[in-house]
Every structure is written in structure tokens, then in C-alpha cells.
Symmetry: none
């Protein structure tokens, strides 16, 4: 790990010290820098207090070669970072005419007159490198000291900070590191769904010793259990890469039917890619998830290739009116039942004309549970042409968690069906499922 350039991350904001906001920025920056071989040695959080910001940046520059700050770059009275750091570097702010013009243009495009207060966002410490921020009004800034240590300032808005880190900060730092590249920390994540963390751990227990010096971590979440294989920098990049690859292959073999992707793969995208490949369309019928499944599917750019839409049938009346669920079925089995979810998925295929359907009905809580159907009871159905599959779950967690897990379960059911049934790719606009 020697040789690696050291970094300290400083996050700035009273809302962080008060615990209002959880500091996700620090984690993001740390992860991205580590993956490129930089070594984050400390993180500090201070409030919107000029002296505290000044002391933290000064101390950070003692401990690390690179200090990255987020927050306090806005146009309001509690934004001090830029002026404090300029002073610490013995320089002053000057107006950047080009930045100002871009800023005015940004407001013009949105049909708004720029408030004069925003002019200060075009002020830049003399000698600083401007890191353009197309997502917001405050650009990133990089200041370098005579001894080569540098301080990078980023806005605290997560979207903007993320874009700047990937598109500006990493290229800037890598170019600066010129040549003496340390072994990067590398990792690979395998994503599973439909299997408990303890079951995952048991399945791969026999592997752990053989993986060394790689480590394996288990990360349970709404979407399922992820497994992260990490090389901590003992191995050079190529060796680490092939060791991680070999480990991933072994783990995938053991967990086979549950692995839907790796790293940032989203099951909604995996399903979407399969649908596109088979030239199939999909629609959703949602009760307890209330639109969440549609939101997941449409979060993927390009999803209009296969997603046509759906029906949120939150009330029983709409289940009948828009999906054709029969009153008798509702009366006999209740809205959270296999019979109803079957009629829902059929109904949405019919009313939308989609090849495939996913339907979800359940009890997300906190109220509405019974001994027979406790909170967390969820029925999901998927249909591909005439074939319908259903599954019942009793999902753990609060209302939000149950809804997230239910949407994931709906996607998982269609995913498994697309993989295991003999789905025939549509040519032009016809296709069928061999049963």
C-alpha cells in the first residue's frame, strides 16, 4: 500500500454534524478513489463555521497529499468553503467572466432570470483549476500548493458531486499522479436474489480459505444479498484481476440460479435486456407497490423499447373496472390472494396488449394484517403470453422495505421465467411460449 497517494475527505455542513443528513458523499468519494489506487487515510466532518473549515483543511493537508472537500459552495450566507480555502492558500477570489456567462445561460435556458446572489458562484480563487459542473451552478475547484499538495472543492449536492468526481476529479488526479501508479484496491460484486444471507454464506463457506489474499463480504439489502470479492492492493492489477475472476466463477457456480448480475447491475435492467432480446413487451398491474414496480422499470433509460405501461389498481373497484378482476374472486379469496393476482396479470396483458405482465398484491402495513395474512404477505404473478406463474411471500421489514422487496420479487419471478421457460423470440410482432 506504500506508494499510494494519500487522500483525506472533508465533508462540510451543519446538517451533517446535527445528524440530519447521512454522509453518503464521503463513502462515494472514498470508494471511487480507492478503486483507482488512492488511499483515503482519514475523513473529517465539520460544520458551516469558517474557523473549523480552515483548521480541518490545514490539518488534512498535513496528513494527506490530497484533500477533497464537499459542501459550502452554494450562493447563500452559510457557504464559506471557497473563501476560507482561498485564504488558506494565500490567494483571493476573482470573477471568472466565462463562468458567469455560462451561469446566466443556464438560468436563461430554464426561463428564469438569474438572481444577483448567484454571481458569487462564478468567483474562483486565483490560480485554481475550474472543474466544470454541467449539473449545477457551482463548479468544482482544484488548488495546488507549491509543495504539490492539493485541495479539491466540490459542491455537496450528491448528484453534482458524483458527476464531478467521475468526470473531472479522477482524471485530474490520475494525470497528476503521472507514472508511479500504485496497485489499486479492486473488487467485484456478485448480486443474488431470492436466497437468504445465511444460506449464501453456507453455500460458499468451503471457498473462503482458498480465496486468500482476497476477502469475501456478504452485503444483504432490499434487492437480495450481494457478495463482494476484494483485493486489497497486495496483488498487482493483472494478478488481482484474474484471481477475482477465478473466484467469481467459482461463486457463481455455487449460487447459480440466484445470481442475476454483478456490480451495479439492476434486476430491472437485466429483465429489460432479456425482454428486448426476445422482442417482448411488458406491462405491470400494481396494488400494494402503488407504482414502484413501474418506477423501477422506467428508471432504465431506453425502457420504452419493452415497457408499455400499466395499471395501479390500488382500490378493489379499480381492480374490477380496469383489470377485469371478478367481484366473486375478490369476495371469495380477498384482494391478497393467488386467484386475484392471476386475474390481475391476465387483465393487464389484455388491457394493454403487452406480451408479458407482472402483477403484485399484498399487505405492506403497518395496518391490515391478520393471523392468516400477516403484514408482509405478498402475492406476485408473471405471465408470458398464456403461461402464468405465481408465488407467495411473507416479506420482512417496514412498509417501505416490504414494498421494495415485493417489486424485486415481481421482477425476479419474470426473470426466472424468461430464463427457464422455453421463450421463443418474437419476429416482428408475434411470438409464443413453448410450454
Amino acid at each position: 500500500m506504500s506508494g499510494a497517494h494519500t487522500v483525506e475527505v472533508i465533508t462540510i455542513g451543519d446538517e451533517l454534524l446535527l445528524g440530519h443528513t447521512i454522509d453518503t458523499n464521503a463513502a462515494f468519494i472514498s470508494r471511487e478513489l480507492a478503486s483507482q489506487g488512492f488511499r483515503v487515510v482519514a475523513r473529517t466532518t465539520v460544520g458551516d463555521v469558517p474557523s473549523a473549515i480552515r483548521d480541518a483543511v490545514a490539518a488534512g493537508l498535513e496528513r494527506a497529499e490530497i484533500v477533497i472537500c464537499t459542501g459550502g459552495l452554494g450562493p447563500t450566507q452559510d457557504d464559506f468553503t471557497k473563501s476560507v480555502v482561498a485564504e488558506l492558500f494565500g490567494t483571493e477570489l476573482e470573477l471568472d467572466a466565462q463562468l458567469l456567462e455560462q451561469l446566466r445561460e443556464r438560468f436563461r435556458r430554464r426561463g428564469i432570470t438569474m438572481a444577483e446572489r448567484n454571481v458569487c458562484q462564478a468567483e474562483v480563487p486565483k490560480g485554481a483549476t475550474v472543474l466544470p459542473n454541467p449539473r449545477g451552478t457551482a463548479p468544482g475547484l482544484a488548488l495546488t500548493r507549491a509543495d504539490g499538495r492539493c485541495c479539491i472543492l466540490l459542491p455537496g449536492v450528491p448528484q453534482e458531486m458524483r458527476g464531478l468526481t467521475m468526470e473531472q476529479v479522477l482524471p485530474f488526479l490520475l494525470q497528476r499522479a503521472s507514472g508511479i501508479k500504485p496497485h489499486p484496491i479492486q473488487y467485484h460484486t456478485i448480486r443474488t436474489t431470492g436466497i437468504a444471507e445465511s444460506a449464501v454464506a453456507e453455500q460458499v463457506a468451503g471457498l473462503l480459505r482458498a480465496l486468500e489474499p482476497l476477502t469475501l463480504a456478504f452485503l444483504p439489502g432490499f434487492a437480495g444479498t450481494d457478495l463482494r470479492i476484494t483485493s486489497w492492493g497486495e496483488l498487482d492489477e493483472v494478478t488481482a484481476d484474474s484471481a477475482i475472476n477465478a473466484a467469481a466463477i467459482k461463486i457463481r457456480e455455487l449460487l447459480d440460479a440466484h445470481v442475476y448480475g454483478s456490480n451495479d447491475d439492476d434486476l430491472a435492467k437485466v429483465v429489460g435486456d432479456l425482454l428486448r432480446q426476445h422482442r417482448l413487451t411488458v406491462a405491470v398491474a400494481e396494488s400494494c407497490t402503488g407504482g414502484l414496480l413501474g418506477k423501477r422499470l422506467t428508471a432504465i433509460p431506453g425502457s420504452s423499447d419493452y415497457f408499455v405501461g400499466g395499471i395501479i389498481s390500488y382500490s378493489d373497484r379499480l381492480k374490477q373496472q380496469l383489470l377485469g378482476v371478478r367481484a366473486e374472486t375478490l369476495r371469495e379469496h380477498g384482494a391478497v390472494s393467488e386467484a386475484v393476482v392471476q386475474e390481475m396479470v391476465r387483465g393487464v396483458q389484455q388491457s394493454t396488449g403487452a406480451d408479458c405482465g407482472i402483477a403484485i398484491t399484498g399487505i405492506a402495513g403497518p395496518g391490515g394484517g391478520s393471523a392468516e395474512k400477516p403484514v408482509g404477505t405478498v402475492w406476485v404473478a408473471c405471465a408470458i403470453d398464456d403461461a402464468v406463474r405465481t408465488r407467495r411471500f411473507v416479506l420482512p421489514g417496514d412498509r417501505e422495505e416490504i414494498r421494495e422487496r415485493a417489486a424485486q420479487a415481481g421482477l425476479a419471478l419474470l426473470w426466472k421465467t424468461l430464463l427457464t421457460e422455453n421463450v421463443i423470440t418474437k419476429s416482428a410482432s408475434t411470438a409464443s411460449l413453448v410450454q
Copy 2:
């Protein structure tokens, strides 16, 4: 700010520096301590490195009266916190026989023989106060220096840390503050929508001086800009309370039409409460948001009182088929247009029978934009009975942000209409809007 006891929170663990784990512990401790009148002045994160832990705790004890550390108390090779801090306090570890017996008993109850590795968890720095941890194997520890400054060590497992903070640490610190109970840090958040951060700041600029010693922070997000009024402990509880109240009233007057709530209020709940109050039902017609608006509305427990459901009309075909949008309207104006959003909202009222409707159509990107209709162009409509209102936005951000902002804009339009139009409360199942 004088008077309040100062605290620094130090979180320890390589997983935090690597960004694998988001540091929720620091936010939790900060929030709970602030609510009891302690003032968190800084937070630091270091890895599982003895020298780094030692330096951080030593520096923390310079800056703050109380240092709270989490992490590094486990039984494995990378747990150093206890021994490092004992050394820093000039004391040594000794085996606590009672703790050891409790530990063995804990394992026995679970039917497991305790591994010898765990014995070290019963070792305690001489003179430290043991804070019992019924949720795990490592107790909390409190060490006090001759000058009164103290360091508290807690395990990093969130469950255990939380229980210990509430049941042990807060009572310990409050007792230690002995009688001179510090004034709590108090705050109140005002939530606005439909107004830019810079415009909010300009509107209230004249107030800032008069608020002292209260401070005002601006917190922009997808939902709008929040304003947080904070009393930092200079004022006693009652005085702070009335000062914050008075400030909130003045700020609400200035920002009037944009304020939808306070603290954790969600606009979806505010709208829902108004609908319930007027005995009105609502349905949604979503294109670019793909279900997100329905998800927002149904995230509120009890939303079935007023939310009946909706239609996700992602494709143009479904806009026609399920919402009755005319082919000519789509051809002449395009899917993202005032004419189409009007027909969408009308269509969803008709097909669902709901009193009110919200419709959204827009270009969330990254593709699909043009010079005339750039990415971020969104039309929203709301209808109450026969009255329809529409609004056009060009929203900033990436796909996710545009969708979140669009859903919020849809809710905001219905909210404003419910407040400003003369809505007549339905009796039984009929009502109308006086226009």
C-alpha cells in the same frame, strides 16, 4: 454556543474509509446528543490502524470535552481501539471476571462453546466504567482523564451502538453534566417547493441579523428548498422555543405560497390530508415518471382513503387506449405538450371515476430532447372535478432527478389548487369546485 458540552465523534473501520459502508452511526450519535444539548463540533473517521486511532482520539480530546468512538472493539486481529485508548490514558487492560462469566453464559445460551479468541472482549482498561451491552459481546467503555475530559468506546454494530447510546451513554453523560443540564440544541425546518434556493435566500435576507443567536440554513433537494432555524444552546429551552416559533412565523409570511410543511412533512401526505378533509379521491396518469407519483402517494399509510389508483401510460398507444388521448392531439402537439397532459388528466378521471387527477408527461432523458423541448421539459396537469390547471417546467438534473422533481411538481400543483380554488367538501359522494 458556550455552555454546551462539546463532543467529537470518531468512527473507526477500514470499511468506512473504503466507502463500502455508509457511516450511519455518526449521524445517529450526532442527532441523539444534539437533542440532549450536547454540541458535536467535529466528526472523524480513521481506519483500523493503531497510530491513526491514537492520533484521532488525542486530537479529539483537544477539540472537545467528550470523544465518542465506535468500532474496533471486536475479537479479531483488526480490533485495536481498546488497547490504543487505554495506552493513551496511561492505563492498562485487565480481565473483568464478571464480564467473562456473562460472556461465557451468552454463548452457552445459544448452545455454542465460546472460542478462546473472545476472552479479550472481557478485558477492560483499569478504572474504566463498563457500559453493559445486552445486544452483543463487546460492552461499551467510558474512560475519564484527570482534567475531566472523557472518551467513550462503543462497538460499531449499529444495533448495539444504538442501544448503548440511548440506554447507557446519554444517562452517563447527563449525570456527569451533574445538575448543570446544558440547554438543548433545538431546530425547526420549514419546507418549501416551487422556489429556487437563491430566491428563498433573497426573500429572507433581511431577517438574518434579527434572528441572532438563531441561525438559518438553506437545504436544497429534489422536494424543494428547506430552511432550518437552529438554536445552538445559548438560549434555554423555553426561550429558544418561542424564538424559533417567532422566526418561523416571519419566514412563513415571507415565503407564504411556497411553504407546504415543516420538519419531516412529505408533500404527498400534505396533499393526502387535504383530500381526506374535503372527502375527495385522486388518481394519477403517469408517463415519464412511470409510477413514481403513485409510489409517492401510496408510501403514506392510510392513502387508500383517497388514492384509488392510476394509469402508467408510458407508450403513446396506451395514452390513447387507456386514457382516451386523441391521435390528432399526439400528432399535432407531440406527447410532451399541454394539450396531451390535459387529455391525460381528463382521461384518468373518467376511467377511474376519481374526483381529482394528476397527470405528468415529460422528457426525463438522457435521450429524447430537442432544441424546442430539451431534456427536462415536463408538463403537469391537475384536475378537480371540471377545473383543469396545467404547468410547464424545464427541470434540471439527470433522469432520476428530473423524475423526482416532476412527481413533486405534480403534487405541488394539486396542493396549490386545493388551497387556492374554492373547493367544496364532498358530502357522501358528491362535491364540486366553485370556479
